[in-house]
Symmetry: C2
Subunit: 224 residues, 2 copies
DNA sequence: ATATATTTTTAGACAAGGCTAAAAAATGAT
DNA sequence: ATCATTTTTTAGCCTTGTCTAAAAATATAT
């Protein structure tokens, strides 16, 4: 059993990890709003428990064990987020903070029952995939909206920024998971794009477009 | 905002308090499975925050402030317990441990929505009253089954022992909140009693009978 | 009233998790 | 290859919450 703090480090490591490359101590400190020295201490402890492989001065990565631990925490986080939206009238910009607390509740039955209640959902309110009981997670290869060209169409499938301020911006512009986006014009100069949705035309900056993960519409793939 | 540990001390103090009398340091240590010296340290801290009145060598009691804080924690504990039973297929002997964790989650909206979902319930699965948002709690004056005499009838309304082992004993004997109990014979020697329910006759020891809170049936009050 | 027993507090220590400042290692630029 | 910069680790300190052992206060019994 891990402490709340240990769980948070494991989660951060998972989110920062990209393939087999080691995650730097500084990056972890950045993500967790702590100091590098605190991170070093914790890395030693996690290595001791064989949850991570830690190479001093080089970086660290999750072991098999650590990864499966991370998946359980992320599963809980995302199931709770969906539960809050589906059953307790939370909006998608309100759930993250509460889920940060709920993800640390220790009860196998509790999370299994939430999973059942929600009919074994595959995605959370932000489009992130929910690992199943065994820790298996769907790996989707999305495009960002910023990668599309004039004339392309796509379905908004996930967002990479779950901050309240960003999600509220999307709400104001009637963008939600599932929205169909047609790229009316893509400005190469600054990477911005004008899209049309069922609610009308929208101008989206490169900053916003790069945070929207989409599945390109194969039906309009002909116009290359 | 209080730490989880502070909240647990406040809760213990509430449960031990009886009227205006001071609660002894030793009693708190007993209830919390800690040592008296640890309790003394915490009492000083809680007094500093004016959550309790602490008189060294005499004991302590909750202030107005501390009491209202206790009510919020107990409200959360009991609402979560009922939620687990009503919505997530937990049995009444499984909920306490998980509720001990969930009661510390900080989110006003979360608990309000749970309350709404359950239709502003008045009692938890063990018959304990649930404080409302303002901290108001129903004060019932129950009798224990052990106080009744031969011929009395009563409705089981609450239990004072929520341990899994005790609740499972009640399950095995088909006793639940709401069960109607007729005292067929009360043995003065050892305080045990034989009761009949809709499922048949039962022999209950004084130890068990004293943990069952009942509302005597006024319709059979005539036989005094 | 005094001695004994019990309860409570104090003193000092420890583990977890954090911080700052200094030292050491790695990286990058000439 | 050497020097300067950045990253990481170490050393030492702090806070929270716990403990044990000793001291002080209170309660109890003669
Ligand atoms: Mn989240
Ligand atoms: Mn999410
Ligand atoms: Mn309980
Ligand atoms: Mn209860």
């Amino acid at each position: 059993m891990q402490s709340v703090s240990e769980e948070n480090y494991i989660k951060a490591l998972y989110h920062l990890q990209d393939g087999e490359t080691l995650v730097s101590t500084n990056d972890i400190a950045g993500k967790m709003n702590t100091k590098a020295s605190s991170v070093t201490d914790m890395l030693k402890k996690l290595a001791e428990k064989s949850l991570i492989d830690y190479v001093p001065y080089k970086g660290s990565k999750l072991t098999q064990n650590g990864r499966s631990c991370a998946m359980q925490i992320i599963r809980k986080h995302r199931l709770w987020e969906l539960f809050l939206v589906e059953k307790l009238n939370f909006s998608w910009d309100e759930v993250h903070e509460v889920a940060e607390q709920l993800e640390h509740i220790q009860s196998r039955k509790l999370i299994d029952e939430i999973d059942k209640l929600l009919n074994r959902p595959k995605y959370d309110p932000h489009g992130d995939p929910i690992p199943d009981e065994t820790g298996t997670i769907i790996e989707n290869t999305y495009n960002t909206l910023a990668e599309l060209k004039t004339g392309d169409a796509a379905k908004l499938s996930a967002v990479t920024d779950s901050s309240a301020i960003f999600l509220q911006y999307l709400d104001r512009n009637k963008l939600e998971i599932g929205s169909v986006l047609n790229v009316v014009y893509r400005e190469e100069l600054d990477g911005s794009c004008t899209v049309s949705t069922e609610h009308g035309k929208l101008y989206l900056s490169q900053m916003v477009a790069s945070k929207l993960l989409v599945i390109p519409n194969t039906s309009s793939e002909s116009n290359t």
